[in-house]
C-alpha cells in the first residue's frame, strides 16, 4: 500500500524549484510523445520551434506579451476566488460577456471621438463580467447552488449569446452578413505600446493589477478575509467575516477582471468583435493561477510561460503540421507535473505492507 505522510518541514528550495522541475518533466514526457508520433522530423527541431524560437524572435516575443495580458488579468481574479475556496471556473463566459458589453459601448459611440470612450468601454466590460459572475454568486448565497456548475454552464450560454449578438444587433451593417462587428474606430482601440506589434496597453494594466492584488492580499483586511475564509471557514465566522459577502467579493472580482480581459481582447489585438473572441483564456487562466500558487506576482511569470506554449504551439502547427491540441497537451502536462511536485514537497510517500 502507498500512503502520503505530511512532511514536518517543507523545503524552501524545493518550493522555488518545483515549477522548473515540472517544466523539465513536461519536456521529457513531450520528448517521448514526439518520438513516438513524429515521422521523418527531428525531435530537436520541434523542440526548438516550440520553446526557443518564440524567445529569439521579436515578433513572437511580442505575441507572447499579447497573449500573456488576458491570461494574467483573468488569473489574478481567479486566484483571489480560489484563495477563498470559491471555484469560479467559468471565467471564459465572463470574459465573453465583458467583451460584448465593452464592444457594445465602443460601437454605440462609433462616430464619436473622445479619450473617455476607452475607459467607459473598460468599465462596461468589468460590469458585464461582474453581472455574469453575480448570477453564480446569487445562486450560491441564496440557494447553495454549486458555483462550479453554474459558472461552467453559463460559459456555453455566453458563447451562444455572442453568436446571437453578432448575427443581430452588433453585426456590421456593411459586412456582407458576416457575423462580425464593425472594426472599432481609433478612440475605441487600445494604444499600442510596442511600435509595430500588437502589444497594447492592457499588458501594463495587467502588471499594475498584479501589484495592486499583491498589496491587497498582503496588506488589506479584505485579502485576509479571503484567505481566512478559504482556509478555515469557522475561524472566519469567529472573526466576524460574513461568508456570503466573501463569496460575492470573490465572484465579483474574478468576474470583473475576466470581463476587463474580454474588452481588452476585442479592443486590442482583434479590433472588432468576432466569433473568435473566446480563445480558452478563461480556462487556461486556471492553470496560470495554480502554476503561480495563486500568488499575484507569480502569475506574471506563469502567464508568460503559458503564453509561450500558445505561441510555440501555433508555430509547430504551421511548421510541422502538428495538431492544435499540442498546446493543450503541454499545458495539461505542466499543471499535472506541477501539482504532483507540490504534493511531494508537502508529503512523503511511504510504502508499507498491510498487516493482517
Amino acid at each position: 500500500m502507498i500512503r502520503l505522510i505530511p512532511r514536518v518541514e517543507n523545503s524552501n528550495a524545493m518550493i522555488l524549484l518545483s515549477p522548473l522541475l515540472a517544466l523539465t518533466l513536461t519536456a521529457i514526457t513531450a520528448y517521448f510523445i514526439f518520438v513516438s508520433i513524429l515521422v521523418d522530423i527531428q525531435v530537436s527541431s520541434v523542440f526548438y520551434t516550440l520553446f526557443l524560437e518564440p524567445l529569439n524572435d521579436s515578433y513572437y516575443l511580442s505575441e507572447i506579451l499579447v497573449k500573456a495580458a488576458p491570461l494574467m488579468i483573468i488569473a489574478l481574479g481567479l486566484s483571489i476566488g480560489f484563495r477563498a475556496g470559491v471555484w469560479n471556473i467559468g471565467a471564459e463566459g465572463q470574459y465573453v460577456i465583458g467583451g460584448i458589453a465593452g464592444s457594445a459601448v465602443g460601437l454605440y459611440f462609433y462616430d464619436v471621438e473622445g479619450f473617455w470612450i476607452l475607459p467607459l468601454m473598460a468599465i462596461a466590460g468589468i460590469l458585464g463580467g461582474m453581472f455574469y459572475a453575480s448570477i453564480a454568486a446569487f445562486l450560491k448565497t441564496k440557494y447553495q447552488v454549486n458555483e462550479i456548475l453554474v459558472t461552467l454552464m453559463l460559459t456555453y450560454v455566453a458563447v451562444l449569446f455572442l453568436s446571437a449578438m453578432l448575427q443581430g444587433p452588433l453585426r456590421n451593417p456593411s459586412g456582407f452578413n458576416f457575423p462580425e462587428s464593425r472594426i472599432f474606430h481609433d478612440s475605441a482601440l487600445l494604444p499600442i505600446i510596442w511600435e509595430g506589434t500588437r502589444v497594447h496597453v492592457g499588458f501594463i494594466v495587467a502588471i499594475i493589477l498584479s501589484i495592486v492584488a499583491w498589496f491587497g492580499i498582503k496588506r488589506h483586511i479584505l485579502g485576509m478575509q479571503i484567505k481566512i475564509t478559504g482556509s478555515a471557514p469557522r475561524a472566519a465566522k469567529f472573526a466576524g467575516f460574513d461568508d456570503n459577502k466573501t463569496v460575492w467579493y470573490a465572484l465579483l472580482i474574478s468576474g470583473g477582471l475576466a470581463g476587463l480581459a474580454g474588452v481588452f481582447e476585442a479592443a486590442g489585438p482583434a479590433g472588432q468583435l468576432t466569433p473568435g473572441l473566446p480563445q480558452f483564456y478563461g480556462f487556461t487562466a486556471i492553470i496560470v493561477a495554480f502554476l503561480a500558487r495563486l500568488h499575484p506576482i507569480g502569475i506574471i511569470f506563469s502567464a508568460l510561460l503559458i503564453a509561450l506554449t500558445y505561441v510555440g504551439g501555433e508555430n509547430v502547427q504551421i511548421d510541422y503540421d502538428l495538431p492544435k491540441s499540442i498546446t493543450q497537451i503541454f499545458q495539461g502536462m505542466l499543471l499535472f507535473y506541477f501539482l504532483a511536485c507540490d504534493i511531494l514537497i508537502k508529503y512523503k510517500v511511504v510504502l508499507f505492507k498491510t498487516i493482517r
Binding site: R219, H220, I221, L222, M224, K227, I228, S231, A232, R234, A235, K237, F238, A239, G240, F241, D242
Partner: protein, 498 residues
Amino acid sequence: MKYQLEINNITKSYGDLKANDDVSLNIKPSNIHALLGENGAGKSTLVKVIYGSLMPDRGEMKWLGKPYSPKNPFDAREQGIAMVFQHFSLFESLTVEENIVLGLDGVRLDENFTEQIIEYSKQYGLDINPHQVVGDLSVGARQRVEIIRCLMQNPKLLIMDEPTSVLTPQEVSDLFITLRKLADGGCSILYISHKLEEVRQICSEATILRDGKLIENCIPQDHSQQELAEMMIGKKLIQLARSNINTGENIFSISNLSQKSDDMFGVDLKNISLSVMKGSIVGIAGVAGNGQDELMELLIGEITSPPGTLSFKGGDIGNLNSHERRQLSMFFIPEERLGHGAVPDMGLNENMLLSRPQKSQMTSYGVIDWGNVEKLTQKVISDFDVQTPSSRMLAKSLSGGNLQKFMVGRELIQNPDLLIVAQPTWGVDAGSANNIHQALIALADKGSAILIISQDLDEILSLCEQIHVLSEGSLSAAVDMNENGLETISQLMVGSKD
C-alpha cells in the same frame, strides 16, 4: 508474588526527545495505582509500552513474575491486560450487547451471553441494559459499556485513561465504587489522571512523571493536593483567590433565548435566561454536548439572535456579528482552538487579526499595519508566556497549551468589559491552566465581567461566584451554593438523561 507488574528502567526516545527516561514502577496486586503527570510528561508513552503498542528502547518488564514484552495490544490482552481509552470505540447505532460481542473473540451473541453481561453488571455495580442502543446512552453509561467489555476478558490489570474527565460527580462516585470492587476482586488498576483530589480519594499508590522522568513513587494520601500538583509541574502553584469581588450593575443579559439547531445531531436551546454583572465571574457547568457549542455560536454572533434576547450595556446586540460585538468591548475565546479560534495554517501574527477591536490600530481603512500587529503579537507572547520561536510560527505547530495561552492573551490585552470563554483550560497542562485562571481572576478583579462555559466542574467551582447548569439545551437558574450546592449541580447536570 510481590508485584503484579514490574517495570524497570524503561527508556523510549523519539529522535532527540526522551519520552520516557529510565522510568520504573511496580504495581501490587489488588491495588489502584495512579499515574500522574502533565501533558507530555510521558504517561501515554509508558502506557503504550505496557499495552504493547510501542516497543521500549531499553528496560524490561515482568508480568506476574515472568518476563513480559508484548508485541502488540492483542498480545497484551491475551495475557490479561485491558485498557479503557479516553475516547470510546463504540458503534452508536448498535446495542450494548452487540458492541460488547464485537470487541471479543470467539463468542456468539446469544441468551447465555446476555445473561453474562447482566451478571457482570450486577456484580460490579455497572448499571446497564444490554438491549439499549448505545447512541441513546449518556457518556457515563457508555463508559460502563467499555468497562464491561474489558471485564469480560477477565483482565488482571485494567488501564484507565482519564476516566472521569467526562463524568458528572454522581457518575464519578459510582465509578469509584466499581473500581474498588474490581481491585478487591484481584484486578489491579493503573489509573491515569491529572485530577489530584480523585487520586487522593481512590488510589493507594501514585507514580509521578515529569518531562519523561520518574519524579516520585509515593502514597498520595501522604501529600496535599497542592504538593502533588507542584511535583507534577515542577514549580510552585499560585493559589487562586479573588482580591476584589466588587460586582456592579448588570452588564450582559440573555432573555428567553431559544434556538432550533440546524444540525441533525445538534441540541435545541430552550428558553435560556442569564444575567452577568460587572466584576463577576459566571459559570455555566454541564456535560459536553448539552448545547454548549450552540450557545457559544449565538454568544459570539456567528448566528444572529432574535431582538430582545441578547443585551449588552443596555443595547440589543442580537443582530450584530462578532466583529461588531467586539467594537462594544465584548470578546470571545471559543473551545476549539484550531480552525475556530485560530487558523491552523497561519502565523500567530496573522491570527491576531481574527479579533480586531477598533482601537487596536491593527488596521486603518482596511489596510493592515503589520508593524503594529507584530508589536501586539509580541506583547501577547511575552505577557502570557507563549513558548514559540517567533510570531510567525503557524498556529498548528504550537502545542495546545501554548496556543490556548496565545488565544487567551489575544483577547485579554484588549481589556474586555465582557469576556465569554468556553473550556478555558481544556487539554492544557496544570501549570498553564493555573496561569490562565489567574489571568481571568485578575481581569474580573479589575471590574470586567466573565462568562465561563466549562465541563470541568472543579474549574467552575474554583472561579465562579454564580453557577448555572446547562442540560439538554436548558439552563438552570443560578445554583445556591450555600445549601447542598454540589449535589444540586450534580442532579442538574444529569438532567433527565438517566
